[in-house]
Symmetry: C2
Subunit: 202 residues, 2 copies
């Protein structure tokens, strides 16, 4: 069995990343959405190993110290990160693993696993993003404005990604991501063993 593909998926808040990932997961049993680790406490209904790996701060910091985190960050007093072990096991099992992470996390993963494929999801326009953020928000204007400013900064980081997909329609964007995954499986670097096999079977 061929090893799976590691896919880094990033997008500014409001670009529709969650909906696209749901669509992708519903349609494809060989895709696995990675599970993050966190030091925050489980909320009612959250399942360890499904929603998050819930770790003590000591456990979390040990993983970081031993180089067993693909990426990690602290956010309002809690640590979040992607443990390397489960991701590598899923890849060995032939699953394509999606990491849903921000641009800082994406850069860290690319450093550790440069063979990953990175995709940045764009909203059709900043105006549309603003509509989506204001539409779903009960927050004050300044909160939405801060989010928009953050989104604008993240969009600039799209240049660090291999591919860009515009989320105008969820169906189309999901199909484009599927196409990118399918094409990447033909990269010479991933199929050099096939070339060997063709030559040997003389």
């Amino acid at each position: 069995m061929n090893k799976g593909l590691l896919i880094v998926l990033s997008a500014p808040s409001g670009a529709g990343k969650g909906t696209i990932i749901k669509k992708l997961m519903d349609d494809d049993r060989s895709l696995k959405l990675s599970v993050s680790a966190t030091t925050r406490s489980p909320r009612p209904g959250e399942v360890d190993g499904e929603d998050y790996f819930f770790l003590s701060r000591e456990e979390f910091e040990d993983l970081v110290k031993n180089g067993e985190m693909l990426e990690h960050a602290e956010y309002v007093g809690n640590c979040y990160g992607t443990p390397k072990g489960p991701v590598e096991r899923w890849l060995e099992d032939g699953l394509d693993v999606i990491l849903e992470i921000d641009v800082q996390g994406g850069a860290q993963v690319k450093e550790i696993m440069p063979e990953c494929v990175s995709i940045f999801i764009l909203p059709p326009s900043m105006r549309e993003l603003e509509n989506r953020l204001r539409g779903r928000s009960t927050e004050q204007d300044e909160v939405v404005n801060a989010r928009l400013e953050a989104a604008r900064n993240e969009v600039h980081r799209a240049e660090d990604y291999d591919y860009v997909v515009v989320n105008d329609e969820v169906e189309v964007a999901a199909e484009e991501i599927r196409t990118i995954i399918a094409a990447e499986k033909h990269r010479f670097s991933r199929v050099s063993s096939i070339v060997e096999r063709v030559l040997i079977d003389a």
Copy 2:
């Protein structure tokens, strides 16, 4: 309109490149198969500008001297090459242009237009390639053996290509090439103008 994609397609003799290209061209009006230039005389029925651009040796050498050939080679006393001008015009018109060339030509094109996408077509096995070459050949054994040896050397050059597609079934191989072309259109390097547009439309 977006600029088209330049696609370098190479394969050892007998891998079925011609059939795959025919399948691709039949299904897609935005694909253009590049036309080579040659100094050999037209054969009955061959049309200038369709089958080949028929040039005098002087005209051909002028194009080479002026850097207007993407690749060229001499073969049994005649020159063959790909003039740059028409390819660039088709690309500007938004057509995806296929160059059907050998591994030496592919390396030359990559030097001049590094933004090209290169795909190497493999036979399922060297044994299958041998069957195909012997099956269609009225030639002596040593001629077929020489072709097989040449094919084996070419397969080793697959490592210079971006993608590898195995031609087990023509339909499947053509679909895989279509997928690669579709995915490559989302490469950040080709869509950076989209990122600009999203940011500007605030």
